[in-house]
């Protein structure tokens, strides 16, 4: 909004603009009414006086009529002459009374009327006997005549005095009325003039104020318009500048190498800053050397071609460079130029802008812009050069970091490959060891067993019982050791072999396992109940057979010597992590495992019993666990000492063969 006048102030002014003229007009009207009333009253008085005069004249006329009629009668004695007298006689008294009422405000005049009335009454008292006498035909004495004439003259004088008094009064009142009229006119004129002047002044003030407000608003609007125009212009400029800087950004992001990157940035910068030549030098502060990394020229040969090697001191002192943009407006008049500027001057350049490239207060280089015109770089050009320099510094730093990172990566890769080689070596050693164990360690055992067997068979008769017992012990231990080596090899093979998961029928696995255990089952007379429909699971068949064999073998083995083994095998479906699993239970009536030992039994060489009571290597359950782990399954046990054990294995439910899984958590170089 352009008219910024507080609303209350505006309303107040509006109220005043309406109220003041109304008040003034009311005042004017009041004064006019009062004046008019005054004038009217003055005129009333004049009128009143005129009426009094006319009444007085009328009364005088009546008196004259009466006297004339009376005299005529006296002369003629005829009744006809007396008629005016009689007519006037009826009117005269009310007329006098009326006159008295009219002048009731004036005591002296009332007095006159009273005197006149008294005179008239006296006159009439003399007239009535005179008329009677005339009727009788008698003559009027002269004294009477004179007396009446005297009274009549007195009355005439009285009326004349009355009238002249009234006339004077009338004149006086007329003058008053005239004066009032004049004063009314005058005051009205003055008032009208005064109020008019006031209103005029007030209106002038109002108009002045409004016009001033509008003038201000107009000025503000003009200012705003100018500002808007200016900001539109500067917006355009900054948009262009931003676009150029953005291009430089993109160039920085796109280019991998410093040189093309800086080249692109300089080309882009030319779109917003006018310069003839520009170059970027990179400093190596340790060796105090500088190198021109990239440059851009619009005019002929470059002052400093790419690759030119200089020293940092050629540019300026390091400290002064860190301070910020150095701008030499006119090289020809500049004093004490650093060598680079001297070189530019020699090439005919007149102004130069030097912007340090800094990363965290460390000087990494300098951007130089040169122009053949003096004072070619305005403030905006300096700002842009500063921004570009910052961007370039960041880009250079990024390149440095990237190189560093690549070096690190290479180093890490080297380390990884070294480690891998070491691991491979270790693995090969392990394999060689395993191979050796499997081959060489068992060979003597076999011979020990074989020759002991030969000894007892071929020469048994020549030996006594003690000797035969010795040989039996040798054979037993050889067999025991062979079992141990065999189990260890199985276990280590499980950790090293790549296995692939196939849909495997649990029923067949259990069948195979039972077949392998035939001898033990028969020996212990074990009762084994296998649920009718065992489902399919994802497994490595031989590993699973081995695991199940071990579990059933344990169930047969670990029972009280007097107990007949009873084993139940069944399976259930469970859900875990959104997948369908099969859990197969092998439930026995054996000696059970105390809760504190239930985790231990799955570890290698963990044995809970002496070999004499329950023979074994202590690796069987470790093999089971390792095998299940390799297949992505699990194994567990629920047991109580003396109440049998409930071992379970869980594997993912079988999926169609097209979804074969290869499960290989071992490092690739350890598999074969």
């Amino acid at each position: 909004m352009i008219l910024i006048v507080p609303q209350t102030q505006f309303r107040r002014r509006l109220t005043r603009a309406i109220a003041l003229p109304i008040v003034l007009l009311l005042l004017l009207s009041g004064i006019s009414i009062w004046q008019t009333t005054r004038l009217l009253s003055a005129l009333d008085w004049v009128d009143h006086t005129s009426r009094v005069i006319s009444q007085a004249n009328s009364a005088q006329n009546l008196l004259l009529d009466m006297e004339t009629g009376f005299r005529g009668y006296l002369l003629t004695g005829e009744q006809e002459f007396l008629e005016p007298y009689e007519q006037a006689n009826r009117l005269i008294e009310p007329r006098l009374e009326e006159l008295k009422t009219l002048v009731s405000d004036n005591p002296s005049q009332v007095e006159r009327v009273v005197e006149l009335t008294a005179s008239f009454q006296r006159w009439e008292q003399q007239v009535l006997p005179a008329i009677a006498r005339r009727q009788r035909g008698e003559l009027e004495p002269l004294s009477d005549l004179r007396g009446r004439k005297q009274i009549m003259d007195q009355m005439r004088q009285q009326i004349a005095a009355f009238i002249s008094t009234e006339e004077r009064l009338r004149n006086q009142r007329s003058q008053t009325a005239q004066a009032t009229t004049q004063s009314v006119i005058l005051t009205s004129l003055l008032l009208a003039a005064g109020i008019g002047a006031m209103l005029a002044y007030f209106i002038y003030r109002q108009i002045l104020w409004v016009s001033r407000v509008y003038k201000d608003a107009l000025q503000t609007a003009q200012l705003r318009t100018q500002e808007a125009e200016q900001s539109a212009i500067s917006l355009q400029r900054s948009a262009r500048r931003l676009a150029a800087l953005h291009d430089i950004d993109r160039a920085i992001l796109a280019a991998e190498l410093d040189r093309p990157l800086i080249g692109k940035a300089l080309t882009k910068m030319r779109q917003v800053v006018k310069f003839q030549q520009a170059f970027v030098a990179i400093f190596d502060l340790e060796t105090e050397t500088a190198q021109v990394l990239a440059s851009n020229s619009q005019v002929g040969e470059l002052a400093l071609p790419v690759g030119t090697r200089l020293t940092v001191a050629d540019f300026a002192l390091e400290q002064t460079m860190l301070n910020g943009v150095r701008y030499v407006q006119n090289l020809s008049t500049a004093e004490a130029c650093p060598p680079v500027l001297v070189q530019l001057r020699a090439q005919g350049f007149l102004s130069c802008l030097s912007v340090p490239l800094r990363v965290d207060h460390t000087l990494v280089g300098e951007l130089n812009l040169a122009s053949t015109e003096p004072a070619a770089f305005d403030e905006e050009a300096q700002e842009i050069a500063f921004e570009v320099a910052n961007q370039l510094a960041i880009a250079l730093e990024q390149t440095r970091l990237r190189t560093q990172l690549q070096n690190y990566a290479a180093l890490l890769e080297q380390r990884v490959s070294d480690r891998t080689a070491q691991l491979e070596e270790t693995n090969q050693e392990l394999e060689a060891f395993t191979y050796s164990v499997s081959h060489d360690l068992r060979a003597p055992l076999r011979t020990i067993h074989g020759f002991a067997n030969a000894l007892i068979e071929d020469c048994g008769e020549q030996l006594d019982d003690l000797g035969r017992n010795y040989i039996a012990s040798i054979m037993e231990d050889a067999a025991q050791m062979n079992g141990l080596i065999s189990d260890l090899l199985n276990y280590s093979r499980l950790t090293r072999t790549q296995i692939s998961l196939q849909p495997t029928k649990l029923a067949e696995v259990v069948e195979d396992a039972l077949k392998q255990l035939t001898a033990q089952i028969q020996e212990k007379q074990a009762q084994i109940e296998v649920a009718a429909a065992l489902p399919g699971v994802m497994a490595h068949r031989s590993t699973l057979i081995q695991a199940v064999t071990n579990l059933i073998g344990n169930a047969i083995k670990f029972v009280e010597p007097t107990t007949q083994p009873q084993i139940d095998i069944f399976a259930e479906e469970t859900y875990h992590n959104g997948r369908r699993w099969i859990r197969m239970w092998i439930v026995d009536n054996g000696i059970g495992i105390a809760p504190e030992h239930q985790e231990r039994v799955f570890r290698v060489f963990e044995r809970l019993h002496g070999a004499e009571s329950y023979p074994g290597t202590g690796i069987g359950l470790a093999i089971v666990r390792k095998g299940l782990e390799r297949m992505g399954g699990q194994v567990g046990v629920e047991s109580q000492l003396g109440r049998g054990s409930r071992f379970w294995i869980a594997l993912p439910m079988a999926v169609p063969p097209s979804h074969n899984l290869t499960h290989d958590p071992t490092p690739p170089n350890s598999s074969y």
Binding site: H439, A443, L445, R446, R493
Partner: protein, 149 residues
């Protein structure tokens, strides 16, 4: 009938040779067992080279019992060589070794072994195995023609 046949045992360990021979006796197998103690000797024997050039004394075997870990030339190399010989490539070869490593087993089958038997620790089992081998490869098995292209 069995006397007409020969078994070639390639085995470097004389104790194992003794035990195998004893097991043959225990199994009542009268088939002639010729023994060579290294890979090169096996090749010479099969090739009819000296000192095995006399085929009357050293006839071609009906099958070879081949140990894998041998001096000079390994069992695998011997097998590979046999499979490359046009006259011998049908010769049944049974690996008899102490290794149960999948690498060994798979490699031997890849090379064309006809059977792979791990040497049992128990002598009686060895007797059983030799009985079975005799039944399989000598009594019931139809022998291939050797030396004919």
């Amino acid at each position: 009938m069995s006397t007409e046949h020969t078994i070639l045992l390639v085995e470097d360990n004389p104790k194992d040779v003794f035990l195998v021979q004893r097991a043959f006796r225990k199994a009542n197998i009268t088939t002639l067992v010729q023994v060579v103690s290294d890979g090169d000797a096996a090749l010479q024997y099969l090739n009819g080279e000296a000192p095995y050039s006399d085929r009357a004394t050293y006839p071609l075997p009906v099958f070879v019992l081949l140990d894998l870990k041998l001096p000079r030339r390994s069992g695998a190399e011997v097998l590979a060589w046999i499979r490359q010989q046009p006259q011998l490539r049908r010769l049944p070869v049974v690996a008899l070794t102490s290794s149960r490593e999948y690498t060994d087993v798979n490699r031997l089958y890849d090379l064309g072994a006809n059977a792979y038997i791990a040497k049992p620790p128990d002598f009686d089992q060895l007797v059983d195995i030799l009985k079975t081998l005799n039944l399989h490869w000598i009594t019931y098995n139809e022998k291939p023609q050797l030396g004919l292209m």
